[in-house]
């Protein structure tokens, strides 16, 4: 067998194997694609429902969205989705992500739910890299700390109180971890400030066609 035919032969065999394995992956992808989409939606809805229980709204939460992009207060590095909960067209809450850029090890991504009057319905940690056993008490599975934000607002908690106790505020820090709660408190405060700034636009219906149909 000459070198030329050997090369061609090998190339053909390799591409045959590549074809077979790719076909296998493509097949499995076809089978699982809708299920993956479904699990993702389910998971997202479950995490949103933790902030706003399903009984409090009756719109299609996952479809009533708004794209927000704000670097100064929310520190979002790319456009993110905000979800609006409504009950019989009445605004119940808006849920949107906010990033705490100054965690102990990197960014902490939070999800906040704010009611129309500017009161927090709840805060959850989406992702973080804080120290296990110390800073990770911000997770709801690890401690109750994250629940202190519920019902807080800019009007019932003064701007100077939006700090951990060590800095003269009213939020607890953790033993051995002050930086993490400090970052989270600041981020939640920023989210409320952002809401104050944007509250007129955050609940607007998303689809402009329905707006233009109005006389």
């Amino acid at each position: 067998m000459s070198l030329r035919t050997a090369i061609i032969n090998n190339a053909l065999r390799l591409s045959l194997f590549a074809l077979c394995t790719t076909a296998l992956i493509a097949g499995v992808y076809q089978l699982t694609a809708s299920k993956i989409e479904q699990s993702q939606q389910q998971h997202l809805l479950a995490s949103l429902n933790e902030l706003i229980p399903a009984s409090r709204y009756n719109n299609a939460l996952l479809e009533d969205t708004l794209t927000i992009n704000d670097q100064t207060l929310l520190h979002l590095d790319q456009p993110q989705t905000a979800y609006r909960a409504r009950f019989n067209q009445q605004a119940v809450a808006v849920i949107f992500p906010v990033i705490a850029p100054n965690g102990y090890s990197g960014k902490i991504k939070l999800l906040v739910a704010i009611e129309p009057n500017g009161t927090l319905a709840g805060v959850r940690v989406l992702t973080h890299k804080e120290t296990a056993g110390l800073g990770d008490a911000i997770e709801k599975n690890k401690s109750d700390w994250i629940y202190v934000f519920t019902q807080k607002s800019l009007s019932n908690t003064l701007s100077s109180a939006w700090q951990v106790k060590r800095d003269g505020g009213e939020f607890d820090q953790f033993t051995g971890a002050t930086i993490t709660p400090r970052a989270v408190v600041k981020a939640v405060h920023n989210a409320l400030l952002y809401y104050q700034q944007q509250q007129d636009t955050l609940f607007l219906p998303q689809s402009s066609p329905s707006l233009s149909q109005q006389p």
Binding site: L24, S39, G133
Partner: protein, 237 residues
């Protein structure tokens, strides 16, 4: 000796040539995903499945793989099975998929898989190759789960927490927790995996030594019996 080929494969995979405690292959996922039983079990099962499937496929195709091309083709086969497993986990065990993160696709780089494909599957028939993959994978899985249980128990004071990520809602109640356990941070953090694995290897070596001693004692007995017989037939050298 008296063990047939299946016994030999099983003993090799589970004990004598265990991937994690003897060959020390695939340590990166072993150390990273052993902080709880559910993570360990999830990654262990995925690895075992990938190993069995890739071994079987390599063995099936072994007559069509030219020697010069074997490594790229093995990698291709392994990578495709791991991708399929990743897709399946993404679909059916979504939260576990998120918890294990990058370590599922990284199964491709687990040397144990390529090692078994090269050393065993490419030289044996499909049934033996699949069995070998299953046993080697099971050996890896058992060490991973043992380490996970150890770290979860000592670090968090729980056992089998969050098993619903893998087995559905009914498994939520499997958790066993030590009341009022203060967390032992060291065992949650990665370095404890090294220490834990060290202890597991040490324990295995102790057991091996004991077995060896016992076997030697038996041999000595046999020698004594044998020498008696030799004496009676008068063949003393």
């Amino acid at each position: 000796m008296s063990e047939n080929i299946y016994q030999k494969i099983a003993i090799d995979g589970l004990w004598r040539n265990n991937t994690a405690t003897v060959q020390l292959l695939g340590l990166c996922p072993l150390l990273a995903c052993s902080n709880s039983v559910v993570n360990a079990l999830g990654l262990g099962l995925a690895t075992m499945l990938a190993l069995t499937a890739s071994n079987a496929a390599v063995s099936l195709a072994r007559n069509y793989i030219p020697n010069t091309l074997r490594l790229p083709i093995f990698v291709l086969i392994i990578a495709s099975f791991v991708s399929c497993i990743e897709l399946l986990m993404h679909a059916y065990t979504y939260q576990l998929y998120q918890a294990l993160g990058i370590f599922i696709p990284l199964i491709v780089t687990n040397c144990a898989l390529l090692g078994r494909a090269e050393a065993f599957a490419s030289k044996h028939n499909t049934r033996l190759a699949a069995f070998d993959g299953l046993m080697v994978g099971l050996g890896f899985l058992l060490v991973l789960v043992l380490l996970g249980a150890m770290r979860e128990l000592l670090g968090n004071g729980t056992l089998l927490a969050n098993m619903h990520l893998l087995f559905g809602e009914s498994a939520r109640s499997w958790t066993v927790a030590i009341a009022d356990y203060k967390k032992f941070l060291f065992f949650i953090l990665p370095p404890s995996a090294f220490v834990g694995l060290g202890f597991i290897i040490a324990a295995k070596n102790i057991v091996d030594e004991q077995l060896k001693k016992r076997q030697q004692a038996k041999k000595m007995q046999n020698v004594n019996i044998g020498s008696k017989r030799v004496r009676t037939t008068g063949h003393i050298s």
